[in-house]
């Protein structure tokens, strides 16, 4: 995102740099551009839609008795995190503070002018920047739900989500994108959330899956997706929304957004083909679920580099992500831990792969911002090292905090539903509903 052009030198300096990086903006005082604003308004809507899209993607993959509870776990993040973000999440992530966490000066949007701008994005309204960022904060915890689907108490889940967003997501966003965040200052590149969104959620997913244990009957019982057409609708909405996620992370309307859109689409396409052909070769048949999973893997893989690499590099990243995530899922089946809907296999692995490849493929022909020039000047090996530091820091931090949170919740309120509730399904036992009454 453009915001990551902001340097550790805060205030005016950050603002000037950011402004300078933006082709259409003169060096003078920032002014809201209606075209930039139009695209980020649209992008915010697109990213919003990704959460319902994810709900369907996941919802179709579980058994019928858990369809609603799975959808609701994603959906309710829209409710919970929307409020968390404007009340205290935004300030923790984006206010000036320490290298590790933002200050509290913007609690409840305090001090944000309703018709001004923030330094991160000097050509769009301040509240729009906040809203756009909010959508990232919403979908990230929703991603984790895939790992523990079909077995966790709704109340425990709600508590987890709020704490995780506050103690994992907000600090990580600050590290990478926040004014003065240490990873950003170090030169780590993350265009649209490879570390902040995908690695953090993917690793936390793994920890959660291991902590909470397998679903009853896994892996002996057959647990087939109850509605793959729903999963495919979800995939379509995710692909569509991802244009907002990645191309919106240009924080304006112009060539950078166009590059990001094209690399995004390219990697999604390559990922879908890669997974499908790998499966075809390996199992003898190409599946729709495989193609859909591969598309998501490609989208994850390109996220950190969408505005830093060329469309040709995006083919490569997409193919690699498709194959790597497919292998990760096979490995899971071998190891028999129960990351139910493969959040780690797709978002963890895809995110790590993408973050590293960004260091290799970054090019100034796509993005001439200072931060990119610095990265290119360092050379791919050094930049790869910096990216690796970002990955490792994110992995360690996310895993540790997630584990502590789970322990805490488990001993205080209990994490997992009772066996007979799991058997009867969460829809009935947690929510008193069932998804379908088809005669």
């Amino acid at each position: 995102m453009f915001k990551r052009f902001a340097t550790p030198l805060l205030g005016a300096l950050a603002l000037t740099l950011a402004a300078a990086a933006h082709a259409q903006t003169p060096a003078e005082a920032p002014k809201i551009d209606t075209g930039d604003t139009a695209w980020i308004l649209a992008s915010t809507a697109l990213v919003l839609l990704m959460t319902p899209g994810l709900a369907l993607f996941y919802g179709g993959m579980v058994r019928q008795k858990n369809a609603l509870s799975t959808i609701l776990q994603s959906f309710i993040c829209l409710g919970v995190i929307s409020l968390q973000w404007i009340l205290f999440g935004y300030t923790l992530a984006f206010a000036e503070g320490t290298p590790f966490i933002g200050g509290l000066q913007h609690l409840g949007l305090n001090g944000i002018s309703f018709d001004g701008v923030v330094a991160y994005a000097p050509t769009i309204p301040s509240l729009l920047f906040i809203a756009f960022q909010m959508m990232f904060a919403i979908i990230t915890p929703a991603l984790i739900t895939g790992a523990f689907a079909e077995r966790v108490k709704f109340s425990a889940f709600l508590v987890f989500v709020v704490l995780w967003a506050t103690l994992v997501y907000d600090p990580l966003a600050h590290w990478v994108w926040g004014a003065g965040g240490w990873l950003g200052a170090m030169g780590a590149l993350d265009f649209a959330g490879g570390t902040v969104v995908h690695i953090s959620s993917g690793i936390s997913a793994l920890v959660f899956a291991l902590y909470v244990g397998r679903r009853r009957g896994y892996p002996d019982e057959e647990m087939r997706p109850h509605n793959l057409t729903m999963t495919l609708i979800g995939t379509g909405l995710l692909w569509f929304g991802w244009f907002g996620f990645n191309a919106g992370s240009a924080l304006g309307s112009g060539s950078l957004a166009a590059v990001a859109l094209l690399t995004t689409n390219t990697a999604a396409a390559a990922g879908a083909l890669a997974w499908m052909f790998a499966e075809w070769k390996h199992h003898g048949q190409p599946t729709a679920l495989g193609a859909a999973s591969g598309a998501v893997a490609g989208l994850v893989g390109i996220t950190p580099g969408a505005g830093f690499v060329s469309p040709m590099a995006a083919i490569f990243i997409g193919l690699a992500a498709g194959v790597a995530c497919y292998l990760a899922v096979l490995l899971k089946n071998r190891l028999k831990y129960d990351d139910s809907l493969d959040t780690f296999g797709v978002h963890g692995i895809g995110g790590i792969l993408g973050a590293l490849m960004t260091g290799i493929f970054v090019t100034t022909s796509v993005n001439s911002a200072e931060i990119v020039q610095a990265a290119v000047a360092r050379g791919p090996l050094v930049q790869l090292g910096i990216q690796a530091v970002g990955v490792v820091a994110t992995v360690v931090y996310s895993a540790a905090i997630t584990w502590i949170l789970l322990k805490l919740i488990d001993v205080t309120m209990g994490l997992r539903v009772k066996p007979e509730e799991e058997e009867a399904g969460l829809d009935l036992t947690q929510h008193g509903e069932t998804a379908y009454h088809l005669v």
Partner: protein, 112 residues
């Protein structure tokens, strides 16, 4: 009275229905079932997990007829449902002690 319970391939239902109608059978009850037998199933795979599907979609047709109509009904079903491939299904005959038409309360053969 006899209940003739036919487990057939879904795609033969229309023919079976037509054959029964041709015999003047005016009623039957149909349900969707899954069958397991000699017919081999399919392998499904979902993200690398393989499941062997050996419960195949079948249709069950229940017809209750008077004893003397039973044989011709069985023959008609066999003819209409047969493809000659494994999986054509079975017919089971059971004695029915009584039948009641709910609308009128009539009992016995006349209720069919």
């Amino acid at each position: 009275m006899v209940k003739i319970e036919c487990i057939i391939r879904p795609e033969r239902l229309d023919e079976v229905k037509a054959a029964l109608n041709a015999l003047g059978v005016v009623g039957m009850t149909v349900s969707d079932v899954r069958g397991f037998g000699r017919q081999k199933g399919y392998v499904q795979h979902y993200r690398g997990l393989e499941y062997h599907v050996n419960l195949l979609p079948k249709v069950r047709v229940d017809v209750v007829v008077s004893n003397d109509q039973a044989d011709e009904v069985v023959d008609a079903v066999v003819e209409a449902a047969r493809t000659g491939e494994i999986g054509d299904g079975k017919i089971f005959l059971t004695r029915i002690d009584d039948a009641i038409r709910i609308r009128t309360g009539e009992r016995g053969d006349v209720a069919l």
